[in-house]
């Protein structure tokens, strides 16, 4: 049975009248790279702040490394985190900021600091003051601060914000290395779902403070929809043709395209069928199912369910 690193049980959180979290429960096991997915204000950062005790827990229970939230100072010592924007002393250099983290954590090794700087690719900027770093470089500094004490559990809130494409790829490799070489369990949130898909091994979906669903990457790969997108001049007519030919299921994302949730159709036959029925076909593309698509459909289903309730 996998060892639970984090156990989040029936946690609710209110800010005034706003229900930020509503009875959220989930578990993160050793070795997971857990991707937390949700819209702005869904409750991702609140979850991370509750785990790190930056936000007081009022309802529910959290256990970290088997210790309950009221007494898990020791568990926090095994946890690294970068929540919201990375915080550093602006007048101090990269090295000086990391020395402070080392002293706070009782680390003596100078090599550990150099390794952390090297790990995040900030060697050329090690003597630069934090105030002079770009947004992406500050993200890297924040990551270096989080990984310096070699945490067993790493919490990263939007770590690839502000990074250029090369930086995003590097961070992806870094997280992979941390997980595979140092066996670090990771909780990560990101708006860039395609990136999250490439990194995470398990996904938790949160919507308006409610925990909607949890899937492993394997389950997601089975569930996410692949299909064919048609660009047409008249979607109603095209829909009628598909319906009468029993080509289902399909959805109409906008007034000039149709998405058929089947990827194994004969596209030649499909285009011929539409053209022969008087539909002008402007484009046809096959697509692999993506996390974005899965997320959009899941949120749509959830909202429809909420409306029916």
């Amino acid at each position: 049975m996998p060892e639970a690193i984090l156990n989040f049980q029936n946690v609710s959180k209110k800010f005034g009248h706003f229900q930020a979290l509503d009875s959220v429960s989930f578990q993160i096991n050793r070795g997971d790279i857990y991707g937390l997915i949700g819209e702005n204000g869904a409750g991702k950062t609140t979850i991370m702040k509750l785990i790190t005790k930056l936000s007081p827990l009022r309802k529910g229970s959290i256990s970290l490394f088997g210790e309950t939230s009221s007494h898990y100072q020791q568990a926090l010592k095994r946890t690294g985190a970068m929540i919201e924007s990375p915080a550093a002393f602006k007048n101090l250099t990269v090295v000086e900021n990391l020395k402070i983290i080392a002293k706070q954590n009782g680390l003596q090794s100078k090599k550990a600091i150099d390794d952390a700087i090297d790990f995040v690719g900030l060697t050329a900027k090690k003597k630069t003051k934090a105030r002079h770093l770009s947004l992406g470089q500050r993200q890297r500094l924040g990551l270096a601060m989080a990984v310096l004490p070699h945490p067993d559990f790493l919490i990263l809130d939007e770590p690839i914000n502000g990074l250029d494409p090369a930086g995003i790829i590097e961070i992806r490799h870094l997280l992979y290395k941390l997980n595979h070489e140092q066996q670090t369990t990771i909780l990560i949130s990101s708006h860039i779902l395609s990136e999250l898909y490439q990194v995470a091994t398990k996904f938790g979906f949160i919507h308006h403070g409610k925990f909607i669903k949890e899937v492993t990457k394997e389950e997601l790969d089975k569930e996410k929809t692949a299909g064919i997108t048609l660009e047409v001049n008249d979607v109603s007519k095209a829909a009628e043709v598909l319906d009468s030919s029993n080509i289902k299921p399909f959805s109409v994302p906008n007034d000039h395209s149709i998405f058929i949730q089947k990827a194994d159709l004969d596209t030649g036959h499909l285009s011929q069928l539409l053209v022969m029925n008087g539909v002008v076909l402007n484009g046809l593309s096959k697509q692999e199912g993506s996390l974005e698509q899965y997320y959009t459909q899941l949120m749509k289903k959830t909202d429809e369910g909420d409306q029916r309730d």
Binding site: L54, T79, E96, Q104
Partner: protein
């Protein structure tokens, strides 16, 4: 305990990397050298007996006079030492680095205590530098000791400890205000206004109880030898109560705060 020591080491490192800290030391040394050289005393004076004031105005200063004049002039140090408050705890909140500190596994109580102790130690060292400057400047100008060296050092140490303790009590109130308002500006303004407000009220309002928080008058009396141990006890008790209340309330606030 280890967490507190680690945090103290981190704060000490940060302080020694701060230009503001060295500017503050230069100001303290220059201010005292000027007082001792020119035999001027003043600032936020607090209550000083006429006899002592006359003596310091009309005699040629010995080292012990320098120490007493420096004590009377120590009120202004509050404005310079405010820099320590800003560097040690203010920056944590203005630059939101408290997140890193608190995630490192330190408890809220350890965090507040370590910040208070860091300020206490750095104030103590700065005030010690202040009085050492008196002695060094007096030696440079070839002044006599004016009493025995043991008595001189005893008066200097008592004044150093009293002023440090009293300033740290004002800082503990400022910590509470910082926790409550999240504003470094408001808490720094409090540090500026507190001694002046107490002194004015003490002089004008005739509220006798105010003397227990009129810290500079108390340190003047200690330095001038006008306060016995028995008379000093209520001050220690008042300060102890203020300290416990401020640390306790700060702890309650930070525990309940959304950080």
């Amino acid at each position: 305990m280890t967490n507190v020591i680690n945090q103290l080491r981190a704060d000490a490192y940060r302080l020694t990397r701060s230009t503001g800290f060295y500017i503050m030391l230069v100001l303290v040394v220059s201010y005292n050298a000027l007082i001792t050289k020119t035999k001027w005393f003043g600032g936020i004076v607090g209550n000083v007996s006429e006899k002592a004031s006359d003596h310091l105005t009309h005699t040629s200063w010995s080292m012990i006079d320098g120490v007493q004049g420096s004590t009377i002039s120590a009120g202004l140090l509050m404005y310079v030492l405010m820099g320590l408050f800003v560097i040690i705890i203010g920056y944590e909140f203005s630059q939101q680095t408290y997140k890193n500190t608190l995630i490192s596994g330190i408890s809220r109580l350890q965090f507040i205590l370590s910040k208070y102790v860091a300020m206490l130690i750095s104030i103590l060292m700065t005030i010690a530098v202040y009085f050492i400057t008196t002695i060094v400047t007096s030696l440079i100008f070839g002044r006599r000791v004016g009493t025995s060296w043991i008595h001189l050092l005893s008066v200097g140490s008592s004044a150093t400890i009293a002023i440090t303790f009293f300033i740290s009590i004002v800082f503990s109130m400022a910590i509470l205000l910082l926790m409550f308002t999240n504003s470094v500006i408001i808490s720094s303004f409090f540090i500026v206004i507190f001694p002046v407000a107490v002194m004015i009220l003490h002089t004008r309002a005739n509220w006798k109880w105010l003397k227990y928080i009129d810290f500079f008058s108390a340190s003047n009396r200690i330095s001038l030898g006008n306060m016995s141990i028995v008379e000093f006890s209520p001050y220690v008790l008042t300060c102890g109560i203020i300290l416990i209340v401020c640390i306790g309330l700060s702890l309650l606030i930070i525990r309940e705060k959304e950080l």
